[in-house]
Symmetry: C3
Subunit: 346 residues, 3 copies
């Protein structure tokens, strides 16, 4: 299906520079744009592609002024990245959607299911669970006893939610993610072995949370492990028992949060970060990839390293680390010269 520049500009409330009748039927990245596609210029680093791209239409920010002649039709908008995302969304919504309760699923008769719900093949929904309107449960998902899932949430194939956990509205969990497995709680006993501490708490996940593939969010020992509204987790992330993650915090892949850590809001964690148990991380904190955080962090701090220190300090120290052999040589040389001098003195 083809769309004219004029139609797209109207949808995005943008301004056309060029041919309003230019037509596209797909999207592309600016650096490999093909005729018949629409692309966008987000990062200024990519500006050179504006003059090379073969895309037919280009979304740009309102203040963009080309320095040379260009071939695509421009549509100028407030935020080219966001506008492009809206188009992608439109594109995706146009695809056929999964619907209906498949007969090859197993749903306990006590389960309450809202309207317009999809339950895929070989999914299991156990006793007393409540599934909100417009929820999509793909095949091979497990929903334990008494689990609640809010309106519009999507659980991709193979997600498992253990009993009693509460999921908010408009959440997305990708395949292989496990919500509510037992926290890692064992009491050492006299003869070096361990006695399991039953984990009788739950997991509470608020609205608009997206969790990637193969993550683990453990249930609390008592009370709840809590993931607040708008949190975004990448893949293979570990969230231990009784952790709390504040609103709109985002974490890159393979990060791990140890038990009972309290993480503030609007934080950004890089990949493979480790957060110690029982500590408190403030708001608007940034933690670089592979860092290990051992103790409390104040609002707005930027940390790097294992164990982590302020970002700038880390990099100053790291540069010197890479030159330690020269520095030791300098020290040894100075020491020798000093001794020589001393010897030579009367």
């Amino acid at each position: 299906m083809n769309f004219k520049a004029s139609v797209i500009a109207e949808f995005l409330k943008g301004e056309i520079v060029g041919n309003p009748d230019a037509e596209v039927n797909n999207v592309s990245k600016i650096e490999d744009g093909q005729p018949g596609t629409i692309a966008f210029l987000g990062n200024p680093k990519y500006e050179k592609y504006v003059y090379e791209t073969r895309a037919t239409i280009l979304l740009v920010n309102k203040d963009f002024k080309p320095e040379k002649e260009i071939s695509p039709t421009l549509i100028k908008v407030d935020n080219a990245y966001e506008s492009f995302a809206s188009l992608l969304e439109l594109y995706q919504q146009g695809k056929p959607q999964k619907t209906g309760i498949r007969p090859l699923s197993s749903i306990d008769e006590s389960v309450k299911i809202g309207e317009n719900v999809y339950v895929g093949e070989y999914s299991v929904i156990e006793q007393g669970a409540k599934i909100g309107n417009n929820v999509k449960i793909y095949p091979q998902v497990y929903i334990g006893d008494g689990v609640e899932i809010g309106e519009g949430s999507i659980l991709y194939p193979g997600v498992k939610v253990y009993e009693g956990c509460k999921i908010g509205r408009n959440c997305v969990f990708h395949s292989g993610t496990i919500i509510g497995a037992d926290g890692f709680g064992f009491a050492p006993s006299a003869n070096n072995d361990y006695k399991k501490i039953p984990q009788i708490g739950i997991v509470i996940i608020e609205d608009f949370v997206e969790i990637g593939a193969n993550c683990c969010v453990d249930r609390a020992t008592m009370g709840a492990t809590i993931i607040r509204k708008g949190v975004k987790l990448d893949n293979l992330i570990q969230v231990a028992h009784n952790v709390e993650i504040g609103e709109n915090t985002v974490m890159a892949a393979q990060t791990g949060i140890a038990g009972s850590a309290k993480i503030g809001k609007n934080n950004m964690f890089g990949g493979q970060v480790a957060i110690n148990g029982h500590i408190k991380i403030g708001d608007n904190v940034k933690i670089g990839a592979q860092s290990g955080v051992l103790s409390d962090v104040k609002d707005g701090e930027m940390l790097q390293g294992s164990s982590a220190i302020p970002f700038k300090n880390f990099w100053k120290s790291h540069v010197i680390f890479t030159k330690l052999p020269e520095m030791r040589q300098q020290l040894n040389q100075l020491e020798r010269e000093f001794k020589d001098l001393k010897k030579s003195m009367p």
Copy 2:
């Protein structure tokens, strides 16, 4: 259901200080204890909450003496933490249990199944497998050809056990854990590609082993990857082919053990630790989070860092690392002064 302090004290063989008729119907953490709940004081750091908690009953160690007046009824026991764990266990055992072989499962007719076994929906048990008494196999589990699972073990939804692996008694495997996938074995060939080495060994897991969610324990090339009695693994842990992990060793999340490493008993590994292949780690070893261990480790060592060195040495060096800019400045300053002095000399 309500329980009186007197009944709980009798069950725990504890001594009541306060009202023996005080009643509770749930458990809580001391720091957010509510009326009608029982909490415990384990960590002395939490003692201040003894004087603030609204919990009705509090478990404490025998030797605990309050410094001020307190409101909850105390039950004094030998080990408050362990006693509390016993109560949690009792609480959990009171919940309805899954039972029976569900008709929506697929069990080969050659499979030997013990008494009182639960097999959930869409689980598959292949030819020649043996399932002991009281085993619980939740939905969507895969049990390969000839697998043996000992009495009382629990496999949560979605666990996969490849053919031939042997699981002991009273083990617990959480969702998404994969036992017995092929070890990572490839022989380089002349034209830069790799020839797969078939992995024809198995995995042996002894009794009382608990493995968290989304872990991987690879089968051996030949022989067996072995996890000894009482080992506890957190989530997202990698155990490569031909590894052996000794009794009662515990590992935190996202740790990885490379091929053929031999790990001793009673060890404690932090999260995101990496253990090199083909090395030998002794007993009673502690390895801090994010450490990387390249070579053999003796009994009782405590290591930190990547690559790891003795714990104390690491922290002494790390402190200086954070001050390297000042140290270099000090060195440069000294050098300058030395040169000035030399110049000024006759």
Copy 3:
């Protein structure tokens, strides 16, 4: 079933030294070889076991000359390791194979399935998918809309492939691996929350790729995440959206590649490595375990550390890191002596 040394030697085109009628019925490692088994000497470090092993037959390289008397019959071949791998393969091929489309699977009527395909219980194959000849799909696998899987590929229990992804020939994916989940793409909006960028690209995996258990390969935002021919990934690896991994590159467990990184061919990455987004790694690169790579890497480089620097430099600096306390003491001592000297001068 027993095999004579003469038969094995003929199959491997090897030369017998010893008893051509020696018989074996199983394989073993040289260090724990038992009578009736065949083992091999690969790594010269294991040579001492040649004189101790109880294995009946031993594969060795053509140029191997025993220094003492030995008991096993030798078969001399060009490459003992590769020959042994061929035997293991033969051994494995002799096992019963899974076959047939199980009635307890769910396959959309539009799906095109080749000859001699196995589809296990509770697997789902969605609309428009194409499955090549000799493909093995174990139980509980999910194959999304329009997915293509080339001849001879194997998907172990519980693998999930999201819609539209293309898998080549002779690939192997182990249990729990997720192909084509959404990339981690969110645009920050004004009020600190995030707007999801729809991920409308796919994953393309070429021929002879093996991926371990519980890995994640995300779909591209647009275009494709690409894994080239012959790549081997261990377990729990993260491959983000729009990454490209070149031919025959191998990565050890728990490594993570951030978005849009381009990785060359014939690389070897250790475990728990982190690769930054949007960077370019050349060919024949080696990256040590737990390293973090922030910027482009040239062909043939060997890196270590977080952030990574050339291998040799890292180890030189690391040795000094472990001795920083002594170095600071040396500096302080020198400074003191210098000041004393200065003071003592007229």
